[in-house]
């Protein structure tokens, strides 16, 4: 059986800055993989390399057995298998919610208007914002916008969903709505690769947790192991800081 996503020997540099230093990741069908780590560790860049929004400097990316990094690949066709949800939602501001979820179905998948509307509405209902279909993104709360963004990606029937810190731009009380929908997706068997700071979500929903630091995968395994009982010093200190943000370390150097 082919892997849903397979990344091998991935390197990415921006000029002289080496962001990813040899990453190997495999996501199996139906798995939820959460990527955690400090900011600047390359988590988002890894995710953006998986659907080639960033071109890898070296290495290979396979999605459902197709090599996206191959020089002659039809990248637009290959991306249709990958849904992406962004930190900043990136809804199309000049279109209604319904148009946001149908435009790519109609222009890319060439679905009829009625078919696209039917599928779009079904996904809007699924994420709980169907009553906002005729409104414009600017009229919606952040949580609603992010759920529309999920419906937009789901309407393309992707094999894998990529989430790039989907709750980081949200007001705290709206985070729950988005995480609930993500949890529901996971329960339905969607293959998901999630970059997140929500440790609770990673612990409860992920099949595999990946801890990244300084462009490398430091530790990976089931959440009970990586989050519950980390082996590496860097993982321990990161989790310690994230889970006890008000705790002052005794060893903290005084300025």
């Amino acid at each position: 059986m082919t892997h849903a996503v397979q990344v091998t020997g991935l390197y990415k540099s921006f000029g002289d800055l080496e962001v990813l230093k040899g990453i190997d990741v495999t996501v199996e069908q139906g798995q939820v993989v959460c990527v955690i780590g400090p900011s600047g560790s390359g988590k988002s860049t890894l995710l953006r390399c998986v659907n080639l929004l960033e071109e890898p400097t070296a290495g290979q990316v396979f999605v459902s057995g197709i090599e996206l990094t191959h020089i002659d690949v039809d990248i637009d066709a290959a991306r249709r298998k990958l849904g992406m949800v962004f930190q900043q939602f990136n809804l199309f501001g000049h279109m209604s919610v319904l148009d946001n979820v149908t435009i790519a179905q109609r222009r890319v998948l060439k679905r009829s208007k009625s078919k696209a509307t039917e599928i779009g509405m079904r996904n809007l209902e699924k994420v709980g914002v169907a009553e906002k279909a005729t409104q414009y993104p600017a009229q919606l709360s952040g949580g609603q916008q992010q759920r529309v963004a999920m419906a937009r990606a789901l309407s393309m029937d992707p094999d894998v969903m990529l989430f790039d810190e989907p709750t980081s731009a949200l007001d705290p009380e709206l985070v729950g709505d988005v995480l609930t929908v993500m949890r529901q997706l996971a329960d339905e068997g969607m293959t998901m690769l999630v970059v997140t700071h929500e440790m609770q979500f990673a612990r409860e929903v992920a099949d595999v947790v990946l801890f990244m630091d300084e462009g490398k995968v430091v530790e990976q395994g089931p959440p009970a192991q990586v989050i519950g009982n980390p082996r590496h010093e860097r993982t321990k200190s990161f989790l310690h800081r994230v889970l006890n943000p008000t705790h002052v370390e005794e060893t903290a150097p005084s300025p």
Partner: protein, 280 residues
Amino acid sequence: MTTDTTVAEAGSAPRARLSPRKRKKISLAIQYAVFAAVVVMLAVIADWPAIQHAFFNLDEARKAFPDILAVGLKNTIIYTLSGYVLGFFLGLIVALMRLSDVLPYRAIALVYIEVFRGLPAIVVFMILGFGVPIAFQDYEMPYDPYGTVALALGLVSAAYLAETFRAGIQAVPKGQTEAARSLGMSQGRAMFTVIVPQAIRIVIPPLTNELILLFKDSSLVFVIGFTLSGYELFKFGESLSTRTGNSTPLIVAGLLYLCLTVPLGYLVRRLEAKQKRGRV
């Protein structure tokens, strides 16, 4: 309270005789006085009957109608709108070339913008009016004089409009392209369904400004040379003035330009205010 302290300070420091508030008041009074003096002087020395006879002669103004509307105004509107439509699409194409990954496209767009923005419009019109018919003798411009005028105004306005479109396209957040591409849209598809519609919305006020400028630039097409039926507002007023030896038709033409441009200027201010509200 403030006055008291200032007065006390003025007493102790003899050089600061006036408070800033008083100085400002006196300075403004002087400015008003100078302005009023200039107006009064001009009003006294000007020969009002002569001015009225030469510029605001109602008999002469009446003679200009209705042809100044049926020919002059009509042609000004046709020339400007046809030039604007051509300039709009050409400008959009040049803007996309300017932002292209393909170096020759970028170079062509840059040269085009620099040349047509840098040349006085009247030079472009003369080259098109006299040079092109000589260069392409076996071909005839369709719908002349409208074809030549639309081409001339379109070529000039496209250079300005291209820069406006480029600014608009660059003002659309990068995340919009990324979202469109991640949904499987090609670069071109993303550009035309997602980026350009939002870019045009952003630049509607400057686009309207360009239309106002083009209404005025259309007065220069007289150098191409037409018969009476091709005269636009300025040429119509000018030729009538020359014929009658009275400048009133030019004033009429000028007022008709203002009838077109002032409402458009008002529209720009409304649109800008609306955008400002939208952003907050």
